[in-house]
Point group: C2
Chain length 243, copies 2
Amino acid sequence: MKQAEEHRIAMTDEKHHGEHHSPSVAGCVSQVPIFRHLEQDQLLEILSVTRTQKYKRGETIYRTGEPSDGLYIVNGGRIKIYRLAESGKEQLLRFLEPGDFGGELALFQETLHENYGEATVNTSICRVNRQDLRVILLRYPSISLKILAEFAQRLEQAEKQATRAAIERVETRLALYLAELLGSLNLRGEVVLPMSKKDLASYLGTTPESISRKLAELEEAGLIRQVDNRIIEILDGKGLQEV
Amino acid sequence: MKQAEEHRIAMTDEKHHGEHHSPSVAGCVSQVPIFRHLEQDQLLEILSVTRTQKYKRGETIYRTGEPSDGLYIVNGGRIKIYRLAESGKEQLLRFLEPGDFGGELALFQETLHENYGEATVNTSICRVNRQDLRVILLRYPSISLKILAEFAQRLEQAEKQATRAAIERVETRLALYLAELLGSLNLRGEVVLPMSKKDLASYLGTTPESISRKLAELEEAGLIRQVDNRIIEILDGKGLQEV
DNA sequence: CGACAGGTTGACCGTTATCAAAGATCGTGG
DNA sequence: CCACGATCTTTGATAACGGTCAACCTGTCG
């Protein structure tokens, strides 16, 4: 069940879930990287077409086939974006954390969601619908540049992911993932997995069983040490990248 | 060897490969979808920061690790975009045809190319460097929206690709690919492969041998008929999507 | 007409998914 | 705050999907 606070001030032909004005909610917009360079009055204008919604842990925010309302920005919490393959198995695409945004695909054309969004903890998001966003982007072109930059990065990420999934072995994918978590600069150090191993398996396009086994192998090879369920000490970052 | 025609009029601190002004070259910009809604004088402004380059069949336009010059728009010809995985194997990402653009990744941040671009036939492109493009996008926000729409679509495509490569079997990937070539509406009809089977294998993240075998299997199953090297008759589009 | 890239077919085997079952961890509600 | 159940994790045994190597075929282009 969702709980919505409408901040819309001008006319609207949409169904409201409830209305409520709170000054503190400006944080919803002002904390977001893509808006951070804006002036106060610009922020207020954006805020005026913004709608805050809250979701409880485990709630689905949208699912494949639903029409997209437009952009949403994560205010607090964590959203898991995943896709169902034709075979029914799911692949984890990414997590959205506060400041990130989603819902982009159907933003610029009337399409349907192709993936799923689910709150993994209690989460609140700000929504901006397609029409309002277009107006804002045309008025403040610098926001478009920010979004473009973000898109470019995601595209890069998705293509890298696609290539690795298609070509590399599970062990390699896992090793590269760990190496990237550590950061390319460091040769050793502890990393904290940002997700469960089950989710990691889904993210890397494999199974929990394989993750478990491959981690064990990497440990035997002396490249890592499993400190804790979520903590891995990397002993040889260079070696990892060459697996 | 590349041949460049500079259309830059203002100052420039770049190395020139040669200069040449031709009025007909306006087609370079005016034929491009993302610019098509613009006025004549706007087109001329964009043209003024544009640089046309020609590449011969087989020439590499850029490679991983090179700094990106900025956006380029394909004027004529065909560019193959591919990526090298860490293991050295290559994956075909997409082809750019006239009207398409590329070089987006490093556009909004100073990064390096992560993939390769290669002219598969004699090709001419228009380049716009990062700084000039920013100016244009800030001045004509509607162009940003067009690019955003294109990005969103590519992102969607890349994520679909990643998911399939990670999760589906080769036979399924191939079948889905064929079904999409046909178009989701039709149940049967002939499709022409837009690339060699070797490239198709690379695109789908498998090997030519597997493509060959799986096509044979699909044929035995009565779902398709291989008319010619590049032509496949699809007998049961619905069946294909359920493989 | 010959050479070369692309395509096919066969045999082999390594990697990894799958199924099953036991053990660890987490979150929730009492 | 503890105890319970649900979910995640690990380990083992098995099978199959698909990559690899090798040989041969085919079409194309100089």
